[in-house]
Structure formats: structure tokens, C-alpha cells
Amino acid sequence: MNPVVRWFHQLGSPPTFDRFAARWAPWAYGSALLVMAYGIWAALFQVPADYQQGDSFRILYIHVPSAWMSMAIYAAIALIWRIKLCEILAMACAPIGAAFTLITLATGSIWGRPMWGTWWDWDPRLTTELILLFLYLGVIGLYGAIDDRRAAARAAGLLAIVGVVLLPVIRYSVVWWNSLHQGQTIRLLGESSIDASMLPPLFAMIIGTKLWFIGSLLARARADNLLREFGKDWVKALAETRR
């Protein structure tokens, strides 16, 4: 068997995954902190102020990466596979995605107060992002409410698939409707319509949030994995060594 494929299969076994997650979660967290520390520092001190918005625009460096993560993570949940570990991973995604959605809404609201003169507007982009938060809460709630963990993960995954219809609506809401929220100004491919000097910290934050997501995902999945394998020999052995 191809070594990569074999490694992937082995990772599906709970004890191997536990060792893998325990080993790599701190690295992901650590590199995320480093990259984000650079991103925040550059965003606050290096990037010039916007000619119209002044310093307020700097919140974009948190708002935009969180917004991207809020949608990317949701898409990841909907791609659930019927492998035990994949279910654990997908369900561990949900609280992280909900947190990113909440950060997106909160930072947008804080920015909107001085810029739009209001904390909240029932604009399509804002409304759909709020519904995304409710969908996350629904997935988390459904997963928590069913006793059989495997059935719970599959039911919550099914709900996530139904809700996936919302993702393109969020993405294109600023194009389809005349909304208060501004259109897309930042592109990974092609030319962004913001100044080039403002971009490097943004890329750092985008990479930083991804790394943070990986660290958080591994840590959460590890906890859920240990909980599900509770009582097995390798978990007992692990608990013994920690004592």
C-alpha cells in the first residue's frame, strides 16, 4: 500500500489520532499565535490609515479572515464522511465556526457604529451571516441532543448539508441585492481593489486564522475522541501515564 494512504488509514484509528493530535495541536496553536501576532502588529502600526475611514478600517484584519473562516468551516461540516474520526472532526468544527461567525458579526457591528451610524442593519449580507450563526447553533444543538454519538453526528451533518444552500447566498448577497455592506474588495487571485500596502497583514491573518482553526480542531477532536473511547484500554493507559 502507498505509504501516504497507509498513514491516512492509520490516522483513522482513535489511539493513533490521539497521539497525532496531542503532538500537532500545540504546534498549530504556536505558529498561529506567531503569524497572527505579526499580522495584528503590522495591521495596527505599519499599514497607513484609510483616506476615508481613518483608523477604523483596521478592524477589517479581524473581520474579513473570520468571515471567510465562518463560511469555509461550515462547508467542511457538510462534507461529512461515514468514518468515525471524520464525524468527530466535523462536529468539532461546529463550535469553532460558530465562534468565527460571532467574531465576524461583532467586529462588523463595532465597525458599523461609526461608519454607518448604526450597530445593526437588516442588510442581506448581515442577515444571512446571522442565519449562518443560527445554523451553527442548530448543528451544535442537534449533536448535543441525541444520545447515540454516531447517529448524532450523522443527523447534524445532514442538517448542515440542508443549510449549505445558504453559503452561496451569503457569498453573492452583496452582488444580488443593493446592500449597505460593501462589495468584495479583496481577491486572492487577481487584483484587489484595496491598496497593495494594506494586503500583507491581511494574508498573515488569513493564514493565522487557518492555523488557529487547525489547532483548535485537533484539540477539540482529541477531547471528543477520548470521551467516545472512554473505558478502552489505551485511554486507561494514557490516563495512568498522566497520573
Binding site: F134, G138, L142, A155, V162
Partner: protein, 227 residues
């Protein structure tokens, strides 16, 4: 024993559900009664001023329809799950999705349809301008089956739980939002003298899509819940 055709199975289910409904005739009126109460509460809370009521009437009627449909969701599969009929559905020679579709449509006809028939009366209570009534009725006629079909997915997901309560609302409301936005939005457009057909067509498109996909999804959810 020969296997029943799809239509025979649907007819048997219809006969059974209607007989059950007839034995408990009072229950059929409950959703419409609940919507009436919501409307009374809104009218009293807003102070009963006719101009104000006329402005919010369409929105209130939509919310009332949505909430009464939400409360009725629990009865969609619950009884069959408790007495074991749902397991027989899974073993039946006809597709589970078909039975789910038939059941959902019967449920819609017995809970939402009375409300739809009562809507002209309720609209009068809220001083809805007469010119907007046809648009509201069309939007509700397209929107309430859509709500029922989306609700069937949620009811199926929660059918295995003993007490689903608030979780059903948490799962269903995000899915209901687009229906509410386009349904109430089309009436709002009509009130401003604009053409409401855009929202109605979107509701129709959503209805066609969910007619096909929702029973399949709900059937998958029932399989997950009962296995």
C-alpha cells in the same frame, strides 16, 4: 401478497390519517386558533391603531402562519414513531420518501389549509388593505407547503428524541427565514405599488425544489433517527 403501488399506498395513508383526524376533530382547528391568538396579541400590543396595523398586517399574518406551523410540526411523525408505525414505513415495499411526502402533504392540508381559508377573516382583523389580499393569499398558498416540507426535515431529524421542544424551533427557524423574507416581501412590494411576482416566482421555485428534495432528506433523517 402483491406489493401495493405508490398510489395505493398513498390512498391507504390518506384514509388512515383522515380517519384519525376525524376521531379527534377538534385538533384540526388548533393551528388556525393559535394563529388567531397570535394576531389578537399583536393587535392589542400595537395598540389597535388601524393605520399602524394595516402597515404591519402582512408581516404579522406571515409570522402567525409560521409559528402555528412550527407548533404543528411535532405531530407530523411523533405519533407514528411512538406506536412503531414509522418502523413499518421503513420496511414497507414503497419508498420511505414517498410516504414522507404524502404524510407531509396531508399534514399541510389538515393544519395549514384551514389557516389559509381563515386568512381573509384574519386579514380583516388586522385592517390589511383589500388590494393586498390576493397577493398575500398567493404567497401563503405557495409558502405554507414550503414551510411544511422544510419542517418535515426538522421533524424527522428530531423524531428519535423524547423531548424535542425548543430544538425544533432552533433548527426550523433558520430554514424558514428565506420563505418569510420572500413571502412577506412580495406583499410589501405590492403595498408599494410594485410588481410582486418576483418573490412569488422564487417561492414557487423553492416549492418545486423542496417537493423533490425535502422528502428524500427527511427519509434519510428518519433512517438515521430510528436505526
Amino acid at each position: 401478497m402483491s406489493t401495493p403501488t405508490l398510489l395505493q399506498a398513498a390512498r391507504a395513508l390518506l384514509a388512515r390519517d383522515l380517519r384519525l383526524l376525524w376521531r379527534r376533530r377538534g385538533d384540526a382547528l388548533q393551528p388556525a386558533l393559535f394563529a388567531l391568538l397570535v394576531i389578537v396579541l399583536f393587535a392589542l400590543a400595537l395598540g389597535g391603531e388601524p393605520q399602524l396595523l394595516a402597515k404591519v398586517a402582512a408581516g404579522v399574518l406571515w409570522v402567525a402562519a409560521l409559528l402555528s406551523g412550527l407548533l404543528a410540526l411535532d405531530t407530523l411523525f411523533r405519533g407514528d414513531a411512538e406506536d412503531g408505525s414509522l418502523e413499518q414505513w421503513m420496511l414497507a415495499p414503497v419508498p420511505l420518501a414517498w410516504l414522507v411526502l404524502v404524510r407531509t402533504l396531508i399534514h399541510w392540508a389538515t393544519t395549514a389549509l384551514p389557516l389559509l381559508l381563515a386568512t381573509p377573516l384574519l386579514a380583516e382583523l388586522l385592517q390589511l388593505p383589500r388590494t393586498q389580499l390576493p397577493v398575500l393569499l398567493a404567497a401563503l398558498a405557495l409558502g405554507t407547503p414550503l414551510l411544511s416540507l422544510l419542517g418535515a426535515i426538522v421533524a424527522a431529524l428530531t423524531v428519535g428524541m423524547r423531548r424535542s421542544g425548543i430544538l425544533v424551533a432552533l433548527l426550523a427557524l433558520p430554514l424558514y427565514v428565506p420563505v418569510l423574507v420572500f413571502g412577506a416581501g412580495s406583499v410589501a412590494q405590492a403595498s408599494q405599488g410594485l410588481d410582486p411576482t418576483g418573490g412569488l416566482l422564487l417561492l414557487g421555485a423553492g416549492l418545486v425544489l423542496t417537493l423533490v428534495l425535502a422528502p428524500l432528506t427527511a427519509a434519510a433523517a428518519i433512517r438515521i433517527a430510528l436505526n
